[in-house]
Every structure is written in C-alpha cells, then in structure tokens.
C-alpha cells in the first residue's frame, strides 16, 4: 500500500513501484535510428563550428553528427570519445542549453538547436551496447601515476594516462567509483546504472588499478603518494558543504541535499526512500533543483525552492528551472531563510524577502513561514580533505592552465581545482588535459 501525498512527516512509499518507475525514467529518452537520422540531418556542418568551441572538451560536433548521418555511429562515437572519454555520461548530464546547443547556429536562427546531446548519446550508446572499447594502450612507459578521486576528472585522467602507456592507480574514499556521476547526478539523467557501466567500460583500456576506501588524509597521504609514484593527480571534488548558520538548522528533518541525493542514487528500491510531505529546498543551483525535483517525483505533495537572489542570478539554467516547474516544484526568488521552527523535528521554515544591491543580499524585513517537514540545504559544496601543503585560490586548489598545483609533481583538476565551471564535462576536460601535461613532463 502506498502512502498518500498528504501523509505528514517524512515517509517512504508515497508512490507505488509503477509510479516511481514512470517518474524516474529517462529524462531525454534515447533516439531510435530514424530520429537520430532526422536530428543529424539538421546539422549544417558549420565551418569552425561554434558548438565545438562551446564544448569544454572541444568534441568535433559537426564531424560526429555527419558520421551518424552517413550511417556509421561507431565512428561518431570514436570522434566523441577521442576528446571526451565520458562522452556517454556527458551526453546525458551536460547542460547543453548553456553549452554546445546554446552556441548552435540553429538556436540563433530558430530557437531550436541541433539536438547535440541526444545525438552524442545515440552514438556512444551504440559502442557501449556492443561493449567495444575503441582505444588501446601505447607501449608501457614504466611510469606510475596516482589519481586521487574516481569522479569524472580522475577517470578521464586515468584513462588518458593509461592510454599513453603509464600505469595508473586510482584511490577513492568511497567504496564505489564514479564520483558525483554515481552519487550526485539526478537519477533520471543516468538511468539503468549507467555510471557504473560506463566506468566498467572505461577500465577496459587496462593499466588502471582501482582502490576503494582510500581517503587522502586518512588511509593515504600526499607525501606517501609522491614518494611511491612519478606523479599525482588530485580530483577529490568538493566533499564539504556550506552550512546555513540559521537557528533550527539542527532540527530533525533538516539535511544536506547532496546526502539525500546520494541516498537516492544508492537506493535499490525508491519506494523505500522516505521523503517529506512539504519539502523546502534552500539554494539555487543544480543541486537544489535536483533535490526538489526528485522529492516531487518521490511523491512529496508540496516542494518549494527558496533562492535568495533573482531568477536571472540562479545557478540552475532556465531549462532546469522550467523542468522543476513542470514537475510541480514552486520556485521562490529573493527569499532567504531566517529560522527553522519545530518541536524536535522541523515543522515550519521562516523566510525573509530580500533585496540585492551591489551583489549584496539584505533582508527587507518582511517575513513569512512555510509549512515544512523536510528542509534540504543546497547552498554550495566546499573543498575538504586537501593536503595542507597545497596552495589554494578562491577556496579551491590553485592550478595553472595545465593543471599544475603549487607542489611539484602534483596536478589537480575537476571541481576541487580552480578555474572552470563545476560540471562533469569540465572535470573531464581538466582531467584529460592534466594527463597530457603529466605525460609530457614525465616523458620530456
């Protein structure tokens, strides 16, 4: 028996298995061959294509679309994977509306870009389906490289290094690889255990050893790694979270959105995952949207995103905002939490309207309360667990254009490193580029 939407408190089974299955199906269902042909035919094969410039991994988009159009998606996949070894995941999770598809000339022309993301998925799926790995390792170099963190940045670096003939050892604090691909990305973006399947496929290159439960700062240290390996790549993401520093933050029912999402991603059966009846999510980024939408999809009755700045300043793209709205999430702008109320557990959240001037947010004094039995905090992740010896910049590991940190022999990339947006595709680009730099510095 499913628990109804109206049942108060944090409850599992608000929807039955069928409802859950429907809600968590693929956000962008895959193209079939004909749809792919039609979508591919729309590409103009632009000269010096703007979409390619907009892709952080610089995939040759007109080339791969032409390969689909000409009936050989396997070559298309190779074109994609040459630049972006996680092209399959990126096809699913990239905010294309702010990257390649925003730059597509057909977006400018008619507001309907070529569906690059879905075409990329079409091509990469063909190769993954056949479980073919179109890359081989170069002759062994005898060099050993440590990669810390098995998220997109670490995996991209490891693959590229292994391909170049190095031996790679990947350490991750968790018991599973994938980083936020496995623990963070919204479930409806990477269905059917795609993150793990992709890692398995990626590891077919050989030369990569995975070690789980190895946390930098606990089981392993940078000094040891530096001693044992020819180079170290840090890709530890952002393991910490910001706190609200608001009264009532410790009440039961108040939680970090990333933890809720990680639980959701790891749940074998989503009908067993509890969610509130009235959920309020604090924040304005992708994490806030994902927590809100997935709460709604689990069967929460009312879900509100409370963001302290305006819609224009929201980190989540307009597409993400519309997605949330279409699922029935209420978006509130220019409101900030001032207190969380409740006896033992949260029952209400008190918010204040804000004004933003000169980038600074101030309360207007006008306050109101929302009924809430669950509050998710999604106000940003922070760097945690980085070695002391390393210089930071803006709260992240300081790196140069090649990913080199302040410590010789140590590179970093992905969310933990300075520069670039915090996106899967950016992490892949940084991992790949750091790998190339490690290779050239080791091989002279």
């Amino acid at each position: 028996m499913a628990t109804s939407h109206q049942a108060s408190g944090i409850q599992a089974a608000r929807l039955d298995a069928a409802g859950i299955a429907e809600n968590f199906s693929d956000l962008h269902p895959p193209f079939d061959a004909h749809e792919a042909a039609v979508a591919a035919d729309r590409c103009y094969f632009c000269f010096d294509a703007p979409c390619m410039t907009a892709c952080p991994t610089s995939i040759d988009i007109p080339q791969f679309i032409r390969e689909i159009q000409a009936g050989h998606p396997e070559s298309a996949a190779k074109t994609i994977l040459d630049q972006n070894i996680l092209g399959g995941m990126c096809a699913r999770v990239c905010p294309t509306e702010t990257l390649c598809e925003e730059a597509c000339v057909r977006e400018a022309a008619e507001g309907k870009p070529v569906e690059i993301g879905r075409l990329q998925r079409y091509a990469t799926d063909r190769v993954m389906e056949k479980n073919e790995h179109p890359f081989a390792r170069a002759e062994a170099t005898g060099k050993r490289i440590a990669v810390v963190g098995a998220g997109p940045a670490g995996l991209a670096a490891a693959h590229r290094l292994a391909m170049l003939g190095h031996d790679v050892q990947v350490f991750d604090a968790r018991e599973k690889p994938g980083g936020l691909n496995e623990f963070g990305i919204a479930a409806y973006k990477a269905t059917d255990d795609f993150a793990q399947r992709e890692v398995d496929w990626l590891l077919q290159i050989g030369g990569i050893t995975m070690q789980y439960g190895q946390k930098l700062g606990a089981q392993i240290s940078l000094d040891e790694l530096k001693e044992q390996f020819d180079a170290v790549f840090l890709s530890i993401g952002l393991a910490g979270v910001n706190t609200l520093r608001t009264e009532g933050e410790d009440l039961k029912g108040v939680r970090d959105a990333v933890d809720f999402i990680a639980d959701l991603r790891q749940a074998d059966d989503l009908t067993t995952l509890p969610v509130g009846r009235n959920v309020v999510v604090i924040g304005g980024g992708m994490t806030a949207v994902d927590a809100a939408v997935q709460s709604k999809l689990l069967g929460a009755e009312n879900v509100t995103i409370a963001y302290r700045r305006s819609r224009e300043e929201m980190g989540a793209s307009r597409f993400e905002q519309d997605l949330a709205a279409s699922k029935g999430v209420k978006l509130m702008f220019n409101v900030m939490p001032v207190a969380i109320h409740g006896e033992g557990a949260v029952s209400e959240i008190e918010l204040e309207y804000t004004e933003v001037s000169g980038g600074k947010v101030t309360g207007t004094g006008e306050r109101f309360r929302l009924v809430a039995d669950q509050v998710f905090k999604a106000i940003g992740q922070t760097l945690q667990g980085q070695p002391d010896a390393i210089a930071l910049e803006g709260g992240k590991i300081k790196v140069d254009a090649n990913g080199r940190t302040s410590v010789a022999g140590v590179w970093a990339g992905g969310d933990c490193a300075s520069g670039g947006e915090d996106l899967t595709v950016t992490a892949v680009a940084e991992g790949r580029d750091a790998a190339m730099d490690i290779h050239s510095s080791l091989m002279g």
Partner: protein, 434 residues
Amino acid sequence: MADLTTEFLGIKSPNPFWLASAPPTDKEYNVRRAFEAGWGGVVWKTLGAEGPPVVNVNGPRYGAIWGADRRLLGLNNIELITDRPLQTNLEEITRVKKDYPDRAVIVSIMVPCEEQAWKDILPQVEATGADGIELNFGCPHGMAERGMGSAVGQVPEYIQMVTEWCKKYYSKPVIVKLTPNITDIRHPARAAHAGHADAVSLINTINSITSVDLDNMAPEPTIGGKGTHGGYCGPAVKPIALNMVAEIARDPQTRGLPISAIGGVTTWRDAAEFMAMGAGNVQVCTAAMTYGFKVVQEMISGLSNWMDEKGYTSTQDFIGMAVPNVTDWQYLDLNYVTKARISQDDCIKCGRCYAACEDTSHQAIAMSEDRVFTVKDDECVACNLCVNVCPVEGCITMEEVPAGQIDERTGKVVSGEYANWTTHPNNPSATAAE
C-alpha cells in the same frame, strides 16, 4: 479560384494534371479512384500486343534515394508494361471512359516495330472511346532488349515510321513519349514531328542504378543476388526533364509542337514551371506513387492560387511564357555584373558560404574573429555558390552592379550595354560588334 480547365490536343480536362502511364493507371480500380481524387486525366499503363502478357519479376522492383527525413527524392524501377491481358485492359478503359466523359483517357501502347502489330491493336484501342494514344518509346529496361521501348525511341527513323503508322490506323491524337536516354532530345522530337505526331510527351525514365548493396556486392534492387539498371524518376529528374522540354519548345524545327511534360512533378510549382517552359499539361507518376492520389489536391489549389495572384484566368495565359528567355550560353550578357550580398540580419553565422568560397571557389568571403561574414567585392565573381549553400533562404542575394559603377574585381566601369561572347575580344571567332 482560377479555372484550371485545360485543353490539350482538343482534349478537355478539368485541370492539367494527368497521371502518367505507370502503376497508378494500371487498372480500372486505380483510375476510378484517381478520378474521384481529382486527377484531370490518365495515360493508361502501357498495353502490349494480344497474346500472353509480359511477366514482371517477383522480387523487389523499385530502388530509391532519399533526402533528409527519408524524403524520397528519386525512384528507380524495373517494371515492364502491363502484365494483364490486353482484352481486360481494353474493357476496363471502355467502361471508365464512359463513366468519366469529362476526364482525359489516353492509352499508352508498345507493340513490336512491325506495321501489322500496330494495325492490329489500333482499331481495338479506338473502339474503347479513349481520347488518344501515347506511344511508349521510352521504357529503358526489359522492353528495349525486345526491340521496343527505348530501343525504338533511340532511333529517330523508327519513331517517324511508327508514328506514321499510327496516324494511318488511328483517328484521334497521337502523342509520342520520348526517352531521355539519348544525347540530343531534339532529334527524336523532330522525328515525331515529321511523322505527324500531334504531341510529344517527356521524359520517360532515365537509365540508372540507385545503389549497391555492399554486403552482397550487387546493385539494388537485388533479385536473387543480381540486379539490373532500371528507370529513374521522381524529384531528382525534374531538372533534366525541364531542360529537355525547353530544348524542344525552342527548337525552330519543333516549335509549337504540343508537349505533355513528365518528370518529377511533385507540387503545383513544378507543374507551373514545366508549363511556363512550353508544356500544355503535365503528367505525374512518382509523386502519386509516393503520397497517393490525394497529392493532386495541392497541385490544384497551388496552381489556382498562383494564377489568381498573377491574374491568369486560364492555363493558356502562361503556357510557354518562359520559352523566349531560354537562350544559348553564348548569348548571355557578359556586361551584366552582380555581387553577392550577405544580409547580416539574416545570417546565422554557420560559415558555410565561407568554407565553400574559400575552399572551392574564389576566396571572396571574409570571416572576422567574431564570425561576421562579408563579401569581398574585388574577388567575388558572382558565381552564386554561396547563395546555394547558405542554409538561410534569402540571406545571400545577388545584387546587380548598376551601369556606371566600377566592378571592383575587374576595375572596369559597368557599361550597361549588352555584349556577349560572340563579340568578345577573347573569342577567336568573334564577329565585330556593330
């Protein structure tokens, strides 16, 4: 709504859209439904001589090429003439014509190149009450090997001879259907004219192999591992047909000979173009085979709409109007100078014009850092390639450089006076300009 009634060889039909001799017109059932759908006339699927009918292959008989979204652009077939008994067809034709007196019914015929064969069949056809006959000298496959179809159509003397027989043994209009599988379409047209044909119709299908099955290493359509060339038709052949129609329309020897145009007619516009190029009406096969009989409705609404806009009250008003403007290359005005112009408001910055011009033409398009594309007047030869490759219709236009202005490429002032190759100083056989 303009009146589309068209008279061709004295045969009246409610519109100029006839179905060409092909599967759509192979039997009573089809033809009745075609008339109900609005077709102005039909040319019945080609009849053969009395006796056991031809047989078709029992494997696939069509091949095709497609454009975006699997839009059919070209169709190829290896079908023969009707494979039903002559008497059955004649009885059906008689019934249909009786029931549809206001529609054109033409009977297509292909019998051996012997006078007796024609003498035998023509009275039987005459007895059906059909409005005329069309001589199928076009079929490029199967029948040609038996000395019929394009085997006759490729020899002008045979065309003239058979046409003369038909005029002798048949009292109503005789249309000669021409094959495009020849070097110069004017020769068979002249032969038909000499044989006193009332009209020519063209084109029949073009010899073709649409594709090769790379697994079986055989042409498509493949029948038991083998394939053969077939006849090509559909939108892809329209430009070829249009030129052939124009050649006959402007040839001094055949000028005025009525033409029924065939080849790739798919929309009203194709029909209007053929008619402007001298055709009295058009025949359609592939469009109907692709979309069904209903396509004629768009042709009807489109043509009458356009005629209303232009103020034409009868198809007669515009037939042949474009013919005087078809000329030979040597008479084109070499002092007519244009330059490509890119509308920055319409440009979507795809860079295709740049790639095309830079890589394959005259390096006359400049691309700035921020992807602004402009034409270099001192390099542009006005070839029109950029216009054709630009995905935005109307974004690049050809603007005439007015007389008195300098053509920046040549540095010469545009004279505004007509001058062609025949008088050009570079032409060794130039005749001095008067």
